[in-house]
Symmetry: C2
Subunit: 542 residues, 2 copies
């Protein structure tokens, strides 16, 4: 029986709801709303190559033949569904790997390989390189930009069967795990031993650590534990030609040459296939506190953040914000009560994680009192138990679902210097109002019903969502590339944490200079001269 990503994802969804951690459900919720109920037959996902006819198949790449498949069966053995091929398996079994979970992208692969060892990955890639067969490395297939599914008939190489924990140094907290380990499984493994993973995201029950690293996943703990560029200590990778490389050491310090593993963090499978990762894991926190604040202006959101960094410093683990429209939408569509009495233009959710509950309670209470006294905030509440903490997180995490219940959505994951973060939302509203596209008393039938901003203030990460009556070319052209120009003008990034994949590759020029893109191409050529790794993505189409 196949242990497909879908089965694992649904299993996790239930699990995520049952466990006490109030966060890490954003994507699970998204799954449950975007995946139609099992009783209704879902509409077919359109093929990516039909949707984007400009993405012509590269004729240099060979096509998979029965001889190739036989060779791959020799390499992997045909145990535990190591090879899934059109000759033997159903289209549905291949769809699991051809389609992304948002049902936006679909490839036409006829072959999925699920190696168990690094040596198998090496033999597979060596063979593919010799025969110029294009491949797509795939982890849990939970990406948001279409980066891990084929465009044409690229062979999928899945990490799911490479899922052993190789070691944990319990003195320094250094974990070495194979690429196919599920993030949540690793986190549970660590928690039993007093540690935790330094990253956390909604897809944790399905996503693979190899995919997390390949896509430089951000998520909910970045404010506290920093990015993967700091926590990933070393990596085992297989290059396009099958060379197995250890990049770096499972050590905190190593100054012997270029830190090549860093290039693989966020390379989205274009430089090689990550087969194992060593990562520095922090001790788990014994005390977690949550508070919600009501704030009058975005300037005061920033002031509250500045003060939180100073006064909560070492225990601050999340600083999220959302605007009043988000709160209205959540209340309209979901059975959620407003945690604060006063209505405010902006809300802030603060989480602290520390090693001493009494100390953290006191720090957070003092911080809140001072901010109320000094009128930096106009209302605030401290969760007194896990249920209240859960309820506060629930508001923040339900925004995406509430937006999707309001109608069609345009969604942007942007990174902007904090002081200018909300100006993006204001500018978008102003433009749409100018064009008569934003609904108001004077434009009661305009197609854009709401423009909302929320996100991770601590990371300068804005999620800009527009709810609409539906997609039209006119609307699309009113928003893009305008939104990317807004970001570019503020020296921001058009992709804060989701990556480039297929979706954002065409817009890379809004975040990178032509010289930088040229240097990226030189690096790509040095690592993958034949270009067989994850083609058609990451680089701007030419």
């Amino acid at each position: 029986m196949l242990r497909t990503p879908l089965v694992r994802r649904l299993a996790n969804s239930a699990h995520a709801l049952a466990r006490p951690t109030p966060r890490a459900r954003t994507l699970s919720v998204a799954f449950s709303t975007s995946r139609p109920a099992a009783s209704k037959a879902p509409a077919a996902v359109p093929f990516t190559s039909d949707k984007f006819p400009e993405l012509v198949r590269d004729s240099r790449f060979g096509s998979v033949t029965p001889e190739h498949v036989a060779r791959f069966r020799d390499i992997t053995g045909d145990v535990d569904a190591a090879v899934i091929s059109a000759g033997t398996n159903t289209a549905q079994e291949l769809d699991v790997y051809n389609e992304d979970w948002m049902r936006k992208y679909k490839g036409r692969t006829t072959l999925v390989l699920r190696p168990k060892t690094t040596q198998e990955v090496s033999a597979i890639l060596r063979y593919c390189n010799e025969h110029t067969l294009a491949v797509v490395p795939q982890g849990g297939n939970t990406g948001l930009v279409g980066g891990s599914v084929p465009v044409h008939d690229e062979i999928v190489i899945s990490t799911v069967r490479m899922n052993a924990v190789r070691s944990l140094d319990e003195v320094s907290g250094i974990l070495t795990a194979e690429a196919g380990c599920v993030l949540e499984v690793l986190d549970l493994h660590l928690r039993e031993r007093g540690f935790c993973m330094p990253l956390d995201l909604g897809a944790k029950g399905s996503c693979n650590i190899g995919g997390n690293v390949a896509s430089n996943a951000g998520g909910l703990r970045l404010l506290r534990y920093g990015s993967l560029h700091g926590t990933v200590l070393s990596m085992e990778v297989v290059l396009a030609d099958g060379t197995i490389m250890e990049l770096g050491k499972p050590l905190r310090k190593d100054n012997t040459g270029y830190d090549l593993k860093q290039l693989f963090i966020g390379s989205e499978g274009t430089l090689g296939m990550i087969t194992a990762v060593s990562i520095l894991t922090p001790p788990k926190s014994s005390a977690v506190n949550v508070a919600m604040l009501g704030v009058k202006s975005f300037a005061e959101v920033q002031e509250a953040f500045r003060r939180a960094r100073l006064e909560l410093g070492e225990i601050l683990s999340a600083f999220e914000f959302f605007d009043r429209t988000c709160m209205d939408l959540v209340k309209r569509h979901l059975p959620i009560r407003e945690p604060l009495e006063t209505k405010s233009p902006f809300y802030v959710l603060i989480e602290t994680s520390g090693s001493n509950k009494d100390h953290d309670d006191e720090k957070l209470a003092t911080f809140l009192e001072r901010l109320l006294e000094e009128e930096v905030v106009q209302d605030g509440a401290l969760a007194s138990d896990t249920a209240q903490a859960h309820a506060m997180w629930n508001v923040r995490e339900s925004i995406t679902e509430a937006c999707s219940k309001e109608g069609g959505n345009f969604k942007y994951d942007l990174s902007v210097p904090v002081p200018q973060l909300y100006a993006i939302v204001d500018a978008m509203r102003a433009r749409l109002a100018d064009l008569g596209l934003l609904r108001s008393d004077s434009a009661p039938t305009a197609p854009v019903t709401n423009v909302v901003g929320f996100g991770h203030i601590g990371d300068g990460n804005l999620h800009l969502n527009l709810t609409t009556t539906g997609w039209t070319r006119e609307l699309n052209d009113a928003i893009e590339p305008f939104v990317y120009e807004l970001v570019q003008a503020r020296n921001g990034s058009i992709s804060a944490e989701h990556g480039l994949g297929l979706m954002k590759a065409p817009y890379l020029e809004y975040s990178k200079s032509p010289e930088a893109i040229e240097l990226m191409r030189r690096v790509k050529a040095a690592f993958d001269p034949k270009g067989i790794l994850n083609p058609y993505k990451y680089f701007p189409r030419q």
Copy 2:
């Protein structure tokens, strides 16, 4: 008048002694002992090319002519000593840039350029690349491996005049500074505004932030704030051909393409010249505590570290160790009192930094009491004021000086998985005893008088020092490459934080596979096709 690194270094030395921070003096002490007093004429530093005749000058490189110098004067203007050349300046003025501060390496450059702007750096490098003139980027010239001084007649491009702070985002703590800013100057600039630099090292009064990043400096705050790979957000660099590149954005999150700036962190000037850096700076801590522990075995050092990570977690900012021999040497050569009453085989120094003094006092006191009760440690003391904290740090920081007063030194900066860290010291002692080279009652005239281990447990960073009656070839061959083999067998790193430079390049193979070194060469070729940037270093000699 030239504002030379030497003048700045001495000025800083006094400053470092006067200011209250008890750390950050290791290198200053080293300076004062290794630099002879001003009244005595120092012995001349031997030329590197005489010491290592195998380092033959690469005949592809052009030699500096008066026409070249005139062109460079056009580019930089001849203001504020932008150009220091053999035709105009004294040998002593050039020596400042030709010699490293340890007086181990000396180049023969006849030209030092000190540009003021990125555009000047660009014009200089474009010209050098066109004329195949080799260059050495140089910051504060405080490196420990001979990486920032010329070997032959490479042109020195110094960052010292590029020292403007470009911006500080006081909401998120993102600082953008030019490469020539002195680390301590930046730290003071930040402290006045409630932040601090996320790195701290002995050379802080002289070293430049560009050099820190180019050499991936580790230092004293790494345990708390992580490595530069996590804190450096973006970089402005000039490539060998003069192209100015912005690599990354001054943002916490940016997933748009390969993170090329990471390659420059630790590239030691071989890929391009860093001209500005954006770095995430933490809020400064309002409370700092220091404690010293006496421990019976290295196993208990590890247990104390494991417990400190769990119980002090978010406030732990240093966890240093040293062995009994270190304590004996410090007492023998320096006017220092032992902080603890009980003599122990190992000592641990713990520092915490947090936002609430009462909370931190309580956490550290409780932690110490428990460890004493459970007999993980056999003695311990908590500094009750700054003077006591200073005295405790003083023991740890005087080890290098005490070793140098004992005789000739062999020094190794190694990174090893924490559980096996002290085994390196034991193995070295055993080998030298076997060979009759370690002094003891049965070998009273043996040349190695002490083998000591100390360092940053929190980072897995061992400093292994051997004190000897003097350097001999026999002794050298008994130690090297044996010490590197010990490290290699434990999957460690032969350079934890000092880098490769000229000194460690020949031993790179002990930490990197031939495939990884080949991949490094491919990256080098992609960035610097003519190889003009910092030649003769970093890569193993062939």
